[in-house]
Each structure stands twice: as structure tokens, then as C-alpha cells.
Symmetry: C2
Subunit: 185 residues, 2 copies
DNA sequence: TACGTTCTTGACCATGGAGTCAAGTAACGC
DNA sequence: GCGTTACTTGACTCCATGGTCAAGAACGTA
């Protein structure tokens, strides 16, 4: 793989930037034409530089989501109470899904073929399961909530958000507290 | 509007039947070509007989859903306890959504232009709100659950089901009990 | 049976998105 | 500056879906 020519390198950067903006605003399912337009480049160039839609997404998804996920994991870890840890984790992921349609698409696995994406998703999942187990051992969360249930809590939220994106953040949050409440012992 | 010719009448019936089967199995968003194939007729005939996709749906949605909804309303009404009434209502609607993708599409308003559909949907909604109010007056359901929340509970379930249709009925039911549990006082 | 009317057909148009490629353009090395 | 080679373009194909219509088929009545 030889070095890119100057204009090509410039374009790669421009496309990355545009993809970040566009995906951030409208989710990972946005047509590539819009990314191309935002980057001031033709669709063909995107394919030449990145190879496929998937590859472009893989190239930006880390910047788009990984940092936010890491921050959540870190912030949540600092809580003492196992129940608080678990509930804060859930709530923050849910809010991330609300705030970033793209993050939502990642969690929902709207693009099932991407390795990057799956990795990210699995990582969060594993962390959540640990929290769940701890909270259950402490007797704070109902013992019949399974790890699979946890996955569904996130997946379903994603689907729900895609279907009803117009709800206000406070309303959204309030409804989620009901949901959390139902998970307690 | 003069009487239909024999073959035309036969076709209308066949199309209705096929639409019922196909929509029942795969929801209201199934391409009309499949209905046409199932009816042994060309797509054009459907349009000639019914005018539009909407009109075809309107022509079968009643048989598809109305009866089920009526049955739920009736069955639920016979319970004494306001909380039981409310919770049974929710649970049965949720199960209807699970059992019948088409019913789900109705509730989710996948086809927003249909009068029939909207009517049906509103009717169920109004009934649910009454139950909610009664249950709240009896102190059995948390008072900060609004009628809008109730709408979202159904809407979201629909979206969630479309996204994850592979879950088993027992699992689905179990998860819903968690949700219900969170709505209590 | 014959003929006018009703009905059906399937090829056709339109839309919108993914992905491709021959031909034109511009950077880089000399 | 000039030729080579990398790069970009946008028009193209393909696919799926909703919807239309002129021409041919079927009905049913006289």
C-alpha cells in the first residue's frame, strides 16, 4: 500500500468528517449521496477510497460511539452501590441512544456485518452483564432478569426510538424510570 | 355502481382471502405482488378492484383485527379489580401484537392515512385511558403515568416487536411482567 | 353464436438507494 | 513543462416497490 496522493488524502479526511457529521445527525442508515454532498465529492470517490458503505461506517464508528461508551463505563464504575451502578448504566446507555441516532444503530446492530461494530456492542454488553450479576447478588435487582433480557432492554429501546423519535427528553427519561422501577426486587 | 361480473366478483373474494392470509402472516407492509400471487391474479387486478393499497387494507383490516380487539375489551371488562383490568388489558394487547403482526401494524399506525385503521386504534386507546384512570383512582397504578405514556407503551412495543420478532412467547411475556410491575404504585 | 361490454394482464413508468466503470482531470517526478 | 499514473467523476446498472394503461381475454345477453 503506497502513499496516497495529496488530493486523495484530503478527500479521505473530508469524507470522514462529512460522514461523522451526517451519521451523527441522521443515523447510520443515511444514503451515501448525502455524505458525498456534504464532503463536496462524488459518491464514486467514497467507494474508491473506502471500498463499501460498511467500510466507511467502520472507519468512523469508533469516533462516533466508542468514546461515549467508554465514558459511560468509566463514569458508572465510580458509583458504590451495585444497584446504582446497574441502573445508571442502563439509563446512560438509553440516553446515549436518544442523543445519538448513530449510537443507536450500533446497539441495534442495524448493520450486522461489521466486525468493529459488533465488537463494540459486545463489549458494552459484557460490562452490563457483570453489573447485572453484581446487582442481583446484592439482592437489589430481581433475580429472574436474565442477561438476554438485558440485551433486549437495549435492543428494544433502539427500535422504539427509531419509531418514535419525537418524544421530549424529559418524557423519555420519565418513562425509563418506570421501566427501571420494574426491574427492582 | 352496477353489479360486478361473475369473474370479477370471484376475484374480489379471492383477493380478500389472499390479503387476509398474507397480511396475517407477514404484516400490512407486505408487497402487493405477494397478495397478487397468492390470489392467482395480477397486481393490476388488485388496483382495478380496490383502487389502491390503502383501500385493500381497509377492506380487510376489520376482519383482521377488529374482532380481536373487541374480544379483548369484552374479556377485560369482566374483571372486578381496576388494577387487574388495566394490566390484563395491556398484557392482552401486547400479546395480540405478538400473535398478529398485522394487528401490530395497526396499533403502530404503520399506515397513517387509513380512516378505518385510525378509528379502530383510537377506540382501543380511549378504552385503555379509562382503565388507566380508574386504576389510578383506586391507587393501584402510579399516578404519574399519563395517557400519552400509555400510547407509547403500545407504540414502542410494536416497534420492538418488529425489530425482534424471534423471541419466544414465554420470554416475551416474562419481560412484559417486569414492565407491568414498574407501573404499579 | 356473435358481439359489445367488462375485466384482466403484464409490460411499463417512477422513485430511491447501492454499487460500478470508462473517460476525463490533476498531482507528482523528472 | 511534460508525460505518466493516480484519482475523480457522474452517468450507468441493478433491485425492489408502488402504481398505470393499452391491448387482449372473458363474460353474458340477444
Amino acid at each position: 500500500m503506497t502513499r496516497l496522493r495529496a488530493d486523495a488524502a484530503r478527500n479521505v479526511e473530508g469524507i470522514r468528517r462529512a460522514a461523522l457529521d451526517v451519521f451523527r445527525a441522521s443515523g447510520l442508515t443515511t444514503p451515501l449521496d448525502e455524505v458525498a454532498k456534504a464532503a463536496g465529492v462524488s459518491k464514486g470517490t467514497i467507494y474508491h477510497r473506502f471500498g463499501s458503505r460498511q467500510a466507511l461506517i467502520d472507519a468512523v464508528v469508533d469516533d462516533l460511539v466508542a468514546e461515549r461508551l467508554r465514558a459511560i463505563i468509566e463514569a458508572v464504575s465510580s458509583f458504590d452501590d451495585p444497584r446504582t451502578r446497574f441502573e445508571e448504566y442502563l439509563m446512560r446507555i438509553w440516553l446515549l441512544q436518544y442523543d445519538e441516532p448513530a449510537a443507536n444503530d450500533v446497539l441495534v446492530r442495524a448493520l450486522p456485518d461489521s466486525v468493529q461494530l459488533t465488537t463494540l456492542c459486545d463489549k458494552a454488553n459484557r460490562f452490563g452483564r457483570q453489573l447485572l450479576e453484581a446487582a442481583q447478588s446484592a439482592g437489589a435487582i430481581r433475580p429472574d432478569l436474565t442477561p438476554t433480557d438485558l440485551t433486549y432492554l437495549l435492543l428494544e429501546r433502539g427500535a422504539a426510538l427509531r419509531a418514535c423519535p419525537e418524544q421530549s427528553r424529559p418524557d423519555y427519561t420519565r418513562r425509563l424510570t418506570f421501566l427501571l422501577h420494574g426491574l427492582r426486587t
